[in-house]
Symmetry: C3
Subunit: 263 residues, 3 copies
């Protein structure tokens, strides 16, 4: 395996709390030469599904050899496993709680999958409530020193997967949901763009509103206009040009979205 | 030109959305040895004027050779240009939408100005809604590998500039506006400190309040007192010691501010 | 002293304001090879007590040789001192306003303590309102170039300390307060876990609620259940499994907490 020199952090710790900072200290105490890149500390608290979405949208762009440390861990201290998974030459160190579900769909089944069972790579004292600091961070740091995943623990068969978001495909319509509301209030659905290609869309419906217009990009709509587009992540998106569609429509993650096609 | 080893990011993506993370992956896939410094991902959404203010206040402190990647891009996918501009030995990679207006005032006219027109330096597939990831990020990454701006595209004459904020100077008063409300609720105006030197200020008025006292710094005022001072960025500032002037006064960006002088 | 290659930032500047970005520029202009790690820019504005708590929870995990730059500085420009303190081989560059109180409790009395009085290491022009940029940042940057603390200024005897949070220990109970509300709404108190060991806790009371159940970790409680636990930072914690205890109870920092023991 190639050398690992990059380490990323994805957590729900926020930046007001000192938890992400403590993890950085643990990592740098083991490998002071490592570069650490913050992906996000603002995953919604304990939201493993959002973490899964986030990682699938960001991780595929990273180079082989990157170590991704993921700490969204509502089950900390319980029987849930901690794992190291290799996909596309990248290593993911995370709780086995579904947060890698979507990244597997993007990068393929892990080539290497280990449960973290070797305390040799952990901090000497393990708290019951912060395995990010005590187990996951030191494990990720040792991986950047080219300790092999094989040394971290026993092989396991497969990871826990979150159930798919509802997506029903009929002859004349597709029913999906809002999978993510982004910073701009754009609604990213779970309906893949490829399901919409070469078909004549009559309307997209969300929360009793019907959106008739598809635009290639935001700025081609009138200011304030609601439109649908193909999101940069490969899914149907609903947006308001120069506005915030989520606020306008009162929509949150999970809201049903229907695409109607011409017969 | 000196070697470029530093890359900064300034975006309106927030840190809950995966967009800044995806750009980091793109950059590191091209140059895994680059140091990336987050300046901000919390520019108010699509606010090119705030981005311009932010960059002018931060960028002048960076060393020659820094590459600044700026993604505040409400016109993504439309006819607006993407550019690379060299000022004071620093390179700015950004949409041509006015976001470099104030940094030009600080650092001087670009010595080198190119439109990004060479797809050779872009990602192979270009989305319509995320040129930050598909064009700007790879361009900035190649610049850190010392590909010259000349290779990125055709020379252009000048950048789009935002109109100046209103600033009227009379014999007995100056009328300006609040240009920025900072984290502390301090109101940073567009009235330069140098216009106030050697003059006797009678009062500063904002939102029907008259502020009579000028202080050298916050802590010299009584707790809760409203004062005016010379901001660290070179402009008149209105602050409440140990408080939040913006909240107290109900003031937002754009609010008129009047300075009255003695005859 | 060992070589200093790591520099961390802890500020109350937020990431919308350009102040932390300007400091990064100042640092990188002096030492473009330094790695900068953001610990937090979201310390509550001017909250030196929170900064003290934050640093004590994060800094002990960093390696010897780290330089911590701390800018929470409500007294900027007044007579308060700026200092450099060495503890456990780490250097802290900060205003002398109590923000190092708790880190001293964790790491021990400073081995080396200097007032920053040598303008040679500062920016040429010093503003009255932003010593973070003009004095503290360049000082920290020169420390990473292995300029010794001795050269930064005169030795001083001791730092200003914040008064202890209230903690009263009786035969049958301990009275403390909430010292921190974390991202998850968990209430971290100032009551040390070691005071609770080997004793039979009858109840923990906060805001007229009585919490009877102690759990080793969150996930062992029923969803929504209020529990007490031993926090990962060594203090009694009150949490709601899969919920937000602070919001549920309407509790903020400073709220009294009582632990009752069996006779």
């Amino acid at each position: 395996m190639s050398q690992h020199r990059l380490l990323t952090l994805t957590t729900d710790f926020g930046t007001t709390s000192p938890y992400a900072a403590a993890m950085k200290g643990v990592i740098l105490s083991i490998n002071p030469h490592i570069q650490i890149f913050d992906l996000s500390h603002d995953i919604p608290p304990q939201d493993t599904r959002y973490a899964s979405y986030f990682l699938a949208t960001a991780a595929p762009y990273f180079p082989s050899g990157t170590v991704h440390l993921v700490v969204v861990d509502p089950g900390v201290g319980t029987e849930r496993r901690l794992v190291c998974a290799e996909m596309a030459g990248q290593l993911f160190v995370a709780p086995d709680n579904g947060c890698l579900t979507d990244v597997i769909k993007r990068l393929g089944e892990p080539r290497q999958l280990r449960e973290l069972s070797q305390p040799r790579w952990w901090r000497p004292e393990i708290s019951d409530t912060f395995h990010g600091r005590d187990i996951l961070a030191p494990t990720a740091a040792y991986l950047t020193l080219n300790i092999e995943p094989e040394q971290m623990g026993s092989p396991i068969r497969e990871l826990i997967r979150l159930p798919d978001l509802p997506l029903n495909v009929d002859a004349n319509q597709i029913q999906g949901v809002v999978a993510c509301v982004d910073t701009f209030g754009n609604l990213i659905t779970n309906i893949p763009n490829r399901m919409l290609q070469k078909r004549q869309i009559v309307a997209v419906r969300v929360k009793e509103r019907t959106i008739a217009r598809y635009c290639r990009t935001y700025g081609l709509a009138a200011p304030g206009e609601l439109i649908t587009l193909s999101s940069s992540c490969g899914h149907l998106e609903i947006a308001q040009n120069r506005g915030n569609a989520a606020r306008l429509l009162g929509v949150e993650v999970g809201e049903p979205v229907v695409v109607e096609f011409q017969d």
